[in-house]
């Protein structure tokens, strides 16, 4: 409603007739973390596990073995991947389905999805996807019931402010962003936490140690 635009702006200006002051917002909260890289990884690992996601620490170079094991353990055979995934992740024994504009219906009949991520936040146990390389579009990490996400140790930051700064530096602010902290959950029934309502019920985070 075009008249409403002017009306609302006019109401706002009238409401602010007392010209309230808004001094520069103080930002005295912690920005940078203080942990060593080893402690940071450890904290991330703990916090992810705390959300009842499965986290595994994988030595450099042993990622393909870990990927094979994770899918085998869950009997996942057909696994969706973004087209630009690292070729070493395409392990034998799994039928990888490239996301060539798969329909929602097709994604609903797939056993799992394997992606990378943009960064991870240790303090909150969060992984952040930004539709970047190896991450794919949002739907592929949403519809399948199993999401396996690979994170390289160097992608872990300690604090939320560090994450937002990095996303800005990467120019990712306007890209579709998804922050994931554990599998989907609800506490709507007598406050019982039930994992997995609509998002993937199983989240596995593979933390690849730096070489």
């Amino acid at each position: 409603m075009s008249g409403s635009r002017e009306l609302i702006l006019e109401r706002v200006r009238r409401a602010l007739a007392d010209a309230p002051l808004a001094p520069e917002s103080p930002r005295d909260y912690r920005r940078a973390g203080t942990l060593s890289p080893v402690a940071r990884t450890e904290l991330f690992y703990e916090r992810v596990c705390d959300y009842r996601a499965e986290a595994r620490r994988v030595r450099a170079g042993e990622l393909p073995v870990a990927i094979t094991e994770v899918f085998a353990a869950r009997g996942a055979q057909r696994v969706c991947v973004p087209n630009d995934i690292a070729s070493e992740w395409r392990v034998d024994g799994v039928n990888f389905v490239d996301d060539e504009e798969l329909s929602w219906e097709e994604l609903d009949h797939i056993d799992g999805v394997l992606t990378g991520c943009t960064l991870a936040i240790a303090e909150t146990g969060t992984i952040v996807l930004s539709a970047g390389a190896g991450e794919g579009r949002r739907a592929i990490t949403l519809i399948p019931d199993l999401h396996v996400c690979v994170i390289e140790e160097r992608q872990i930051v300690e604090t939320v402010p560090e994450a937002m700064t990095l996303l800005t530096e990467l120019g990712a602010q306007r890209r579709p962003l998804t922050f994931i902290s554990g599998p989907s959950a609800t506490s709507d029934i007598e406050l019982n936490r039930v994992e997995g309502v609509h998002g993937p019920r199983n989240l596995v985070v593979l933390i690849e140690e730096s070489a």
Binding site: S4, L7, D28, P176, F179, S181, I189, E190, G199
Partner: protein, 462 residues
């Protein structure tokens, strides 16, 4: 819509009788409060984050016209369409028009207080479009045909057996048990098909970033991701107070909100998107900037801070009045301490004259509020306004009558008296004490007041 369905004292009376509601609520508020305290305690800079949150919101309000225009431009630059709605009817009409333009008669919806506030579902229904609620709790309410009792866990007044019966009667067969996992599974199955085939979705939002035009939805279940990712058309209703200046400001609110709200370090899912992305998500995106009384609240120089609210519900969980009566007694979309100030500010105090009295002024809400809204001060300010505007002592007496009607409540009130004097003294504007406050002072005379604060007492008791 009417701001409040029934006067608070009357509705509270009924709620106090409902034992199930009372015990569920007690457990709920206690559990969430404990979790919140624990994760807040982990952050050494919590007070600095609160101060930043407060200041950022104050900046937004002080420059709201500029931020609205900046947001509008940024959304348009990113391929989204911006609508302005002066009231609920206009906002509902935008959604209906979009639905009609696409020939949509059924859409999926992610829980949003804002869309509840404007009565969107009923308006759509009247226009021949059915809206399917996709939050588990909202679905339970929708299928059971009742009202929310808590911002965060709206169906907390229903136990598992009741939920099973509602599901059996609507979306599942008689084999369904009352196991929470099975109940969640039933809703997953029922909704999945709708998510995958929906042609349009409606959402609210937690934040809108003026700088980038980015919209942010914070949630747990994944239905928010489903709604904002899969259907080709998306309409988001955004209260004008939900803006934040810059993308970087999210670093403050994404810490404050989940810890205050569900007591988690981070909620399971946070989605951020900007306009339309050709390769990912809805190809048509509308955002409706909603006033519907917010500029009324903005004009109240004391009350405008209520617009800082990020709807975390922490103030509900610490409120001794709320945890006894539940949300339904407030007869408003916004219950608890925040509802007691926001509802009269949005709709005019004359439409909700008893709500500002639905509080003991113990100050716990202010202490936990992640954006430092001084709810007790705003309550006192609104009480004065209510008395002025009503000129009908019966209304305020009703509130006092409720508080002092029962033996237990009376005893509690005695303990409250000591604390109540503090805000009273601060409220320099109130010259003649309105009846309930008069009642507070009367209580004080009955017995010397204990040295223990209400909070201390409450904490010990719980």
């Amino acid at each position: 819509m009417s701001a409040t369905a029934r006067p608070f004292p009357e509705a509270a009376h009924d709620a106090l009788r409902d034992a199930q509601l009372r015990s569920n609520l007690f457990v709920a508020t206690q559990t969430i409060r404990d979790k919140r305290n624990q994760v807040v305690g982990e952050l050494s800079d919590w007070e600095e984050l609160r101060e930043a949150g407060r200041a950022i919101k104050a900046d937004v309000l002080a420059n709201l016209d500029r931020y609205l225009l900046q947001f509008e431009q940024a959304v348009a630059d990113a391929g989204g369409q911006v609508h302005w709605a002066a009231d609920a009817g206009e906002a509902n009409q935008v959604v209906l028009d979009v639905a009609r333009a696409h020939g949509v008669t059924e859409l999926v919806k992610v829980k949003s207080l804002t869309t509840d506030e404007i009565g969107l579902n009923a308006a759509l229904e009247a226009g021949g479009v059915s809206a399917i609620e996709t939050d588990l709790a909202e679905l339970i309410l929708q299928l059971g045909g009742d009202w929310s009792s808590h911002i965060l866990v709206p169906a907390i007044h229903r136990n598992r057996t009741e939920i099973r019966d509602i599901f059996r009667a609507t979306i599942a067969d008689d084999a369904l048990s009352d196991d929470p996992g099975e109940l969640a599974e039933a809703s997953r199955t029922y909704l999945r098909e709708r998510f995958l085939t929906a042609r349009m979705a409606v959402s609210g939002a937690n934040f809108g970033v003026a700088e980038t035009g980015t919209v942010c939805v914070v949630e747990s279940e994944g239905n928010g991701r489903m709604c904002t990712t899969l259907p080709p058309v998306l309409v988001t209703i955004l209260g004008i107070e939900k803006l934040i200046p810059s993308f970087a400001d999210l670093e403050v609110f994404l810490q404050l909100l989940p810890r205050s709200s569900t007591g988690e370090r981070m909620n399971p899912y946070t989605s951020l998107w900007t306009g339309v992305n050709a390769a990912d998500g809805p190809q048509e995106f509308h955002v409706v900037l909603l006033d519907a009384g917010r500029t009324n609240a903005l004009a109240d120089t004391v009350g405008r801070q209520a617009l800082h609210c990020i709807r975390c519900s922490a103030c509900l969980n610490v409120c001794p009045v709320y945890s006894r009566t539940g949300g339904q007694a407030y007869g408003s979309i916004y219950p608890g301490p925040i509802g007691a100030i926001l509802t009269p500010l949005l709709y005019g105090v004359e439409h909700a004259p008893t709500l500002p009295f639905a509080s003991s002024l113990c100050g716990a809400c202010y202490e936990v509020c992640p954006v430092k809204i001084d709810i007790p001060s705003v309550l006192l300010h609104l009480r004065a306004k209510a008395v002025e505007s009503a000129g009908k002592p019966s209304l305020t007496m009703a509130a006092a009558g409720w508080l002092f009607g029962g033996r237990r409540r009376f005893a509690a009130a005695q303990r409250l008296g000591r604390l109540a004097q503090r805000p009273l003294i601060r409220a320099g504007k109130i010259r003649r004490l309105p009846p309930p406050l008069d009642a507070w002072t009367r209580t004080r005379d009955l017995r010397p007041l204990a040295g223990e604060s209400f909070r201390e007492w409450w904490e010990r008791r719980g």
